[in-house]
């Protein structure tokens, strides 16, 4: 069963990822990303991380992909980039080298870990408790952590949101009529 779920979800993830790269229509590419994210959510559930799965769907598939689609629509879906023009000449060879390097490193890591098992990382007390809790204390432990140990951090994020609002007001404001724009010599 586990293997079956893994294979299906893995196929979803890979299929989606290939789709993001290969689909020429930007909306289709963005929708392929949703497939990948759903696959990852399924993998999370298989690992007993229900909360992460829910967040993955709500935040990534829900909010972020919608934002992508929004931007694509705003820019116009018909606009196509000419892929034959390379802004930086070295980009594609570099991408190839880095991609191959990353895949081979990951491969080596997987092979090496079969021979030398990786030592486990000490989880914090909250994680240990959550795993020991038969009533699936995963989400509960997370809530406890956020509202007790990390309550200050949690509250501080509100200041970040305020800054985001002010930033939008400042940066997205349209210039008034007759406002001149100063372009001096570019900073050296």
């Amino acid at each position: 069963m586990q293997l079956f779920v893994f294979i299906v979800a893995g196929a979803m993830v890979l299929g989606g990822a290939v789709g993001v790269v290969l689909r020429t229509h930007p909306v289709h590419a963005a929708l392929s990303l949703v497939l990948t994210l759903f696959g990852i959510a399924v993998l999370f559930i298989a690992q007993d991380a229900q909360f992460l799965a829910a967040v993955e769907v709500i935040v990534y598939a829900g909010a972020i992909v919608v934002l992508f689609l929004f931007v694509i629509m705003l820019l116009g879906i018909d606009r196509a980039e000419d892929l034959h023009v390379e802004p930086f000449k070295i980009q594609r060879p570099a991408a190839l080298v880095i991609g191959v390097g990353l895949v081979s490193l990951l491969g080596i890591a997987v092979i090496a870990s079969r021979e030398h098992p990786v030592p486990t990382v000490t989880p914090s007390q909250a994680v240990t408790d959550a795993l020991a809790d038969p009533h699936n204390g995963n989400i509960r432990a997370l809530a406890r952590d956020v509202f007790s140990d990390h309550v200050l951090a949690f509250e501080l994020t509100s200041a970040l949101l305020v800054i985001a609002v002010v930033a939008t007001v400042i940066l997205a404001r349209k210039p008034r009529k007759g406002e001149t724009y100063i372009v001096s010599g570019s900073a050296q």
Binding site: P119, L152, L156, V169, I182, V183, S184, A187
Partner: protein, 503 residues
Amino acid sequence: MGALLAADTLHGPKVDWFALTPLIILLGGAMVLLLVAALTPAWPKRAYALFTVAVGSAAAVMSFILWDRINHQGAKTLVGDAMWLDKPGVWIAITVCIGVVMAALLTDDYLRREGIDGPELYVLYLLAALGAIVMASANDLIVLFLGLEILSLALYVMAASHRKRADSQESGLKYFILGGFSSAFLLYGIALIYGSSGSTNLGKIESYFRLNPILDHSKETLALAGVALLIVGLAFKVAAVPFHFWSPDVYEGAPTPVTAFMASVGKAAAFAAMLRVLLQGLPHWAQDYRPAIWTIAVLTLVGGSVMAVVQTNVKRMLAFSSISHAGYLLVGVEAAAHNAGNGLSSTGVSSVLMYLLVYTVLVGGTFAVVTAVGRTGDGATDLAGFRGLGRSKPALALGMTVLLLAQAGVPLTSGFVAKFGVIGDAVRVHSYAIAIIAMVSAVIAAFLYLRIMISMWIAEPEAGDDAREAVRVPALLCVAITLSVGFTLAIGFFPDWLIHAAP
């Protein structure tokens, strides 16, 4: 079900609200300013700036009261171990409040001159100050990171806030991209430290490494990589060589009052955070990170002074000067790393904290003069803009001269006291080489300050000088410069009380 719920009732950590008052005042002030200014027509001249000055001063006063309380009751942690209420933290809080007041005084006339008046920048000052204080008092790496992001995000926006200048937008974008990059380094470092020690709390990290002095190989690698990435992230924030590339461009492009804020508050918070992380969280690794700090300090000292010499724009010069100041501060950090086991009471910490306070006042005054000389458009900040200032505005030029001498570390100014402090501590822990390098680079850096002085007092007037817009020194700017020069000289002549006060 009822029993289950009752057993599950969450008991949040006890909150000592009084100890949080400086933060609450800053946040509340920002909210009030934002809401009220959004609902009312434009406030009268200077009202936004004076409101910000009042909020900053109120937070500073509360910090003084807390300082007194620590004297009686000792230091403690707040909100479930997430933050410290201790003297270094409160000292930086006061420093940050001074930075806010100075920046608000500089900003007032600047915004009207540039035709972009509004409350937004002041709101960002107050919020950034909140982030800076959180960062400086954090006892948890997550809280520290959030403080850093609050401060940095506000700074990115501030740097880009001059909508009419392409340079300002460019500097905001550059700062944003590079800053995001460095935050990622820091976050990765935090994750690795968490992976090796099992906690993000500085106290718990420290005790874990103290109680498990012999780690297995993989954990040690993890921890060392974490330490290295944390140092990279923090070194970027303080603009230490070789992580300084953003700073000259950003300093030059950002609106001058924002540059003052960036140089003072940003640096103070980042150094306080660095001391917390290295001395309170990771003293176990002091032997490993001390050579790294030593190298970065030397590169910063020499690089900052040497690169400053070839600049022609005063804001860029001051950016490199701020880099070399970061070098002196790192000398203090290196000295503290020699006896890191003592946490924040190590030799070197108090002189770093004193340096930060002195530098905040100094840089506020210096950039106040640059704000005035920049003239409408904020563009006349090259050396030519300062030409003849000694004739047209002798008082302003005199003030600038005092501030520049202080930055160079000439005796009888606060800059000398600050530099003497860190170099003295380096000698005290027998770190002679770095002390000598610091003194030599002070001599090289003096050249840069002399160039600005020569341009003000000695340079021959050139054709077209008379056609330039006259330099205006509005009231609040005048207040800022006077306070800064007064403090600089007062500390220069009577340094004892400040040295004794420093934690």
